[in-house]
């Protein structure tokens, strides 16, 4: 019952956050120098032509009025149309979201699997050979920005070892997820970036748990092998989950660089173009989608942590 109440609160807060986000994004895009008239008219238009475009895009009306109209429509599920070409924003987001997901989900799965596995292995034997080797590798990964990792992968796989396609070109009429070979490089680039951070979190958390009196007690009571590992990992998970969910949510934001370099036409890629073109409804729709996805991941992380925490015999090492 308490969980339900907590969940309701969180969802309400998330909704409020999204509305605030939409207002801030609208205001910011509005405040930017230039508008969709400038970007669509190009350099050789006359003033009269510019004015005509402004009226036809509805940009001659006050910003407040346009925002209220937009939010009213958005509440009913209509995200409006692209200022530049009149395509339905909801439709664009649908296309882009599935493409982004095709890269993000495998990356997330790889991160979680490797981070939990290797993190547990290293955390159970702090200071061991495994731990030291993994620490060095993950330190290097954490120290490398997404763009360095992506550029390195591109160089390796275009110049020296061309076994994977460097550009995500999906054959017409098909979806990106149908082509694991195309997904591979961008997903690996994202996974490498996130894996370092996630694994170190898990490691620290497992190490802390293994260090508690509770784990000591279990060992003294003869709990060994897989049962022991599972017990420690399960107890370490809640405290790592929050960080892990932040790492996974961070993939969404970091994907702009990776999507551009590998030509994955996803959300981040589309967003950078929409900002450049001052396509306000599209920027709004895309950033709301990103925001909602981030909130969902964070919420899911907290929810999992709370559920795990409730079923535990003993609280984990840290709050």
């Amino acid at each position: 019952m308490r969980l339900a109440g907590w969940l309701t609160m969180r969802v309400a807060a998330a909704a409020a956050t999204l509305i605030a986000l939409s207002a801030v994004v609208f205001w910011a895009t509005e405040e930017l120098p230039g508008d969709a008239v400038g970007t669509s008219a190009g350099p050789n238009a006359t003033d009269a032509e510019r004015a005509a475009i402004r009226v036809s895009l509805g940009l001659d009306r006050p910003a407040g009025e346009r925002y209220l109209e937009w939010i009213g429509q958005a509440m009913r599920g209509d995200l409006g149309e692209s200022l530049l070409t009149g395509r339905d924003v909801g439709e664009i987001i649908g296309d882009r979201l599935s493409t982004s997901a095709a890269v993000l989900l495998p990356a997330a799965v790889v991160i979680v699997v490797l981070a939990v596995g290797l993190g547990a292995a290293a955390g159970l034997r702090v200071g061991g050979r495994w731990d030291r080797a993994l620490s060095a590798i993950t330190l290097g990964l954490v120290g490398s920005s997404d763009f360095l990792l992506a550029t390195a992968l591109l160089v390796v796989f275009t110049a020296w070892w061309p076994v994977l396609p460097a550009v995500a070109l999906v054959p017409a009429g098909e979806e990106l997820w149908e082509h694991p070979d195309l997904v591979a490089l961008p997903a690996i680039a994202l996974a490498l970036g996130g894996f370092g951070a996630a694994m170190r979190l898990l490691r620290a958390s497992v190490a802390q748990t293994a260090d508690t009196g509770f784990a000591e007690f279990a060992r003294l009571n003869g709990i060994r092998g897989v049962r022991y590992v599972w017990m420690v990992v399960a107890n370490a998970a809640p405290s790592a989950l929050h960080g892990l969910s932040i790492v996974l949510a961070g993939l969404l934001g970091g994907s702009i660089v990776v999507e551009t370099l590998f030509n994955v036409p996803g959300i981040g890629f589309e967003l950078s173009q929409a900002v450049a073109e001052r396509d306000v409804p599209l920027v709004q729709g895309l950033s709301l989608t990103l925001g909602a996805a981030t909130l969902t991941i964070l919420l899911a992380g907290d929810l999992c942590a709370a559920m795990l925490g409730r079923h535990q015999a003993h609280p984990p090492g840290v709050a």
Partner: protein, 500 residues
């Protein structure tokens, strides 16, 4: 005991990771090679998913290339042809003696893909379409020059266009961008009837367009069965796609990338020749100090080392400019001396103008290959004559976003696609030049027009406000199986052949 557990676990995890990696790496690098051999796969810098088939609203190179493959042009600019244009679905264009009326004769027997004959009504509608369908300003050239409300189609093969004022270059105006679409077309879908060498089989905004040969095309039948146009906005991603054989042809290659592609096996790099090179210009606002003084403008133009720009920015793939537009077009004034690199004279001029050591800020953005890099070299050249020059670099897509602000900046980068000087001259800076351009467009004899045009260019060369160090061609690269690309401003792929 604990250690064995950890080792087992680690081993299990490693195996899992390897399996996961193997799962990801299935398939061959040229994943899409299963497409038919006679399909050309070509990549361009296209738009995002807001892309539309309405070519009147599409600003990218991809929009333009696709539109020309799908919709037959009325006629095309062709500086080498006697009329300055080559004809398409319009057979001839004749001007009246007084240069006030133009008569277009429609070619017989041209059919749309739905089997209907193309008539004068379609041509008239095509000419009006930019106004009716909210075309982008660059499509508005016709309505700026002709009174489209008074235009008429007296019979099935004749269209009459009254000019707003007498002009001699009406043909070039009509032929700059107009494509033939059926009368009353209001939206563009994959099934909209068309008249070009290809038809659209499928279209995914921001990703790909699959074109199929149009067997009822009136002109020379294309050798290719299909063309797949891909949108790859990032320049190095395009190059990677070509290197790995994911596409056969790419357009808009950066100069540095062209240099490294030249040595790659099985690939060739080409660029468009004059006059198909964009006019890259750095404009000094004569309403702002210190550019109100013609000596300062001349000093800045003399300071620029054009050869170094051609070598270091464009790796030789650019044409040295002489500070006037339309290099390579028939009316270009070749009698003017090429302005050289003379920092000493530049310093002297600045001192005379009392502008030694002034501060200027040049605004540029990555809107065409080498625009920012050229700007950085210009800044260095200006520093060498004692000017405290700085560069303000805007992110991609921002340079023209706030156009009134752009106009007000004292010193800024810009570019003009390859086009006739006279038609595309923007008046308002030098009244004497404007008057000469008007004569150059409307005088009765060709000789009078040419003289006036040359005179206008001479004035611009002497006191003008633009530094035009280079003309920039479009660089394309292709697998060497690809032949027959016509390298215009944007490549024309309609006559391409693909060897096995």
């Amino acid at each position: 005991m604990k250690s064995t557990t950890a080792r087992n676990l680690a081993a299990a995890v490693t195996v899992g990771a390897l399996l996961a990696a193997a799962g990801c790496s299935e398939g061959d690098p040229a994943g899409s090679s299963k497409s038919a051999e006679r399909t050309l796969r070509a990549a361009f810098a296209g738009g995002g998913s807001s892309e539309t088939l309405n070519y009147l609203a599409g600003p990218t190179a991809l929009d333009f290339v696709r539109a020309k493959l799908v919709h037959a042009p009325l006629c095309e600019l062709d500086p080498k042809a006697p009329d300055g244009v080559s004809y398409g679905v319009v057979e001839t264009i004749t001007a009246s003696e007084d240069l006030k009326t133009y008569t277009l004769r429609v070619r017989d027997g041209v059919k749309f893909t739905d089997g209907k004959l193309l008539t004068s009504a379609d041509v008239l509608y095509s000419l009006r379409a930019p106004m009716l369908l909210k075309g982008l300003p660059f499509t508005m050239l016709i309505s700026r020059n002709f009174d489209m409300d008074a235009a008429s189609a007296p019979d099935a093969s004749t269209v009459i266009l009254p000019a707003k004022s007498p002009i001699a270059d009406g043909r070039e105006v009509i032929c700059q961008t107009t494509l033939a679409i059926p009368d009353k077309t209001t939206e563009f879908t994959t099934s909209t009837p068309s008249s070009g060498p290809f038809t659209i089989e499928s279209f995914e905004p921001g990703q790909s367009t699959l074109l199929k040969r149009n067997d009822s095309y009136y002109g020379q039948a294309p050798a290719l069965e299909k063309i797949e146009l891909r949108s790859i906005p990032d320049g190095s991603a395009r190059v990677n796609a070509l290197r790995q054989g994911q596409v056969d042809f790419i357009s808009a290659v950066g100069p540095a990338e062209a240099k490294t592609l030249e040595t790659a096996d099985g690939l060739k790099v080409t660029n468009s020749e004059l006059p198909y090179a964009s006019y890259l210009q750095y404009t000094m606002n004569i309403k702002a100090k210190p550019f109100d003084d013609p000596r300062v403008r001349e000093a800045f133009r003399l300071a620029v080392d054009r050869k170094r720009i051609v070598q270091n920015v464009y790796y030789g793939r650019a044409f040295v400019g002489n500070d006037i537009p339309a290099l390579g077009f028939p009316s270009y004034n070749t009698a003017l001396a090429q302005r050289g690199h003379d920092p000493e004279r530049a310093k002297q001029l600045l001192t005379e103008a009392g502008a030694a050591g002034i501060k200027v800020e040049l605004t540029a953005g990555p809107e065409m290959p080498g625009m920012v890099e050229t700007a950085t070299l210009i800044i260095e050249d200006l520093k060498a004559i004692g000017v405290q020059a700085t560069l303000r670099e805007l992110p991609a897509g921002q340079l023209f976003a706030d156009y009134p602000a752009y106009l007000s900046w004292p010193f800024k980068a810009g570019y003009t696609p390859p086009a006739y000087f006279e038609i595309n001259h923007a008046p308002g800076t030098f009244p004497d030049v404007d008057a000469l351009v008007l004569t150059a467009r409307s005088a009765v004899t060709g000789q009078e027009r040419l003289t006036a045009s040359h005179q206008a260019q001479k004035l611009l060369w002497e006191k003008g406000n633009q530094i035009a160090p280079v003309f920039v061609p479009t660089i394309n690269a292709a697998s060497d199986r690809v032949d027959g690309v016509r390298e215009l401003q944007f490549p024309d792929l309609s006559r391409v052949t693909l060897r096995n």
